[in-house]
Amino acid sequence: MNKLLDLFLTFARIGGLTFGGGYAMLPILQKEVVEKRGWATEEELMDYYAIGQCTPGIIAVNTATFVGQRTGGVIGGIVATLGVVFPSLIIISVIAAFIQNFADLAIVQNAFAGIRVCVCVLIFNAVLKLWKKSVVDKITLVIFLAVMLGSILTDLSPILFVLMAGVAGIFLSKKEAQTK
């Protein structure tokens, strides 16, 4: 029981201290999970993190589930995951309620008009970073372009594109391996 509480509080702290998730989370995870608690070795944590990146879902959530499961079984996995999202729930609900009440103020509207420009640039930078890791040859370039254009020009669900690209990956990367 104590261990579950410990898992919840530790991951709540990790969630509350990480800005941006993903990569920003790794140093705090190392400190809390490896150095302070000894719940995983450095290598194990890197493995969990790598798998968290290449399974569906939020990387931070996946890693929390992993460490929790290893430490406290299925219940541990669930408790650690609830811990990592707990600060977000509180903080965002407070901010969202605040902004809903002040959305009509001129100062808030002007601030967000400026912020939206910044969001464009941040998304663009994120795409560039992902591009370097995901578009590695002609086949992946075609998949990128096809999905981007398909998503802009049609109303099809993103799920359809993800599924088709996964299947394409299985067939096309095999072919490439054979020709090498």
Binding site: G20, D47, A111, G114, C118, V119, I123
Partner: protein
């Protein structure tokens, strides 16, 4: 379908199919906006900014925000739980046969295709924010003056921000919250929203 059930279902799908972290949730949120009209593209852009500037994983923050905007505090909890449920199920299964998963050729080659697709989806979602910020369709429809179609101050700010976030060595490692705060100040000082 009750709004809670629908929220859970939509975010469950996003959690199941968004590959590659935070921003990968974005295309799914646009899809939800298209289908349900619960929130506008403009509101979504604001949610991205707030999710980036507050602690916690971006994807989780965005789910909480959308859930709250749609159905209050119960909505925020249900959307977040919907988003993380597939993760919990998948990871608990994978944890059982970790090695086999890591070494699987099928998993590797599926992700060879999934990664560029996810990048393409995020790029498409990003372009709709760009269109929102750069084009002034309303103003153009009124005046039919081609110069009114483009929001020049926004483009100038965009180029400047790109330089400082991605090119200029001294500032490009800074946390996004710095640039978001600076943009808010610029927006207020120069009245970017046109509100007085």
């Amino acid at each position: 379908m009750s709004i809670y059930l629908q929220l859970f279902y939509e975010f469950f799908k996003a959690g199941l199919f968004a590959v590659g972290g935070g921003m990968a949730t974005l295309p799914f949120l646009y899809n939800i906006s298209d289908k349900t009209g619960w929130f506008s593209y403009g509101q979504l852009a604001d949610m991205v900014a707030i999710s980036e500037s507050t602690p916690g994983p971006i994807g989780v923050n965005m789910a909480t925000y959308v859930g709250f905007t749609t159905a209050g505090i119960p909505g925020s909890i249900i959307a977040t739980v919907g988003l993380i449920t597939p993760s919990i199920i998948i990871i608990l299964i994978i944890a059982g046969f970790l090695k086999a998963f890591q070494d699987s050729k099928y998993v590797k080659s599926a992700f060879y295709g999934l990664r560029p697709a996810s990048t393409g989806l995020i790029a498409a979602a990003g372009l709709s924010v760009v269109a929102l910020v750069v084009l002034q369709k309303d103003l153009y429809a009124e005046s039919h003056n081609l110069i009114d179609l483009i929001n020049l101050p926004n483009i100038v700010l965009m180029v400047i921000l790109y330089f400082f976030t991605a090119r200029f060595k001294k500032t490009k490692g800074l946390h996004p919250v710095v640039f978001i705060a600076a943009s808010a100040v610029i927006g207020i000082v120069f009245r970017f929203g046109g509100a007085v």
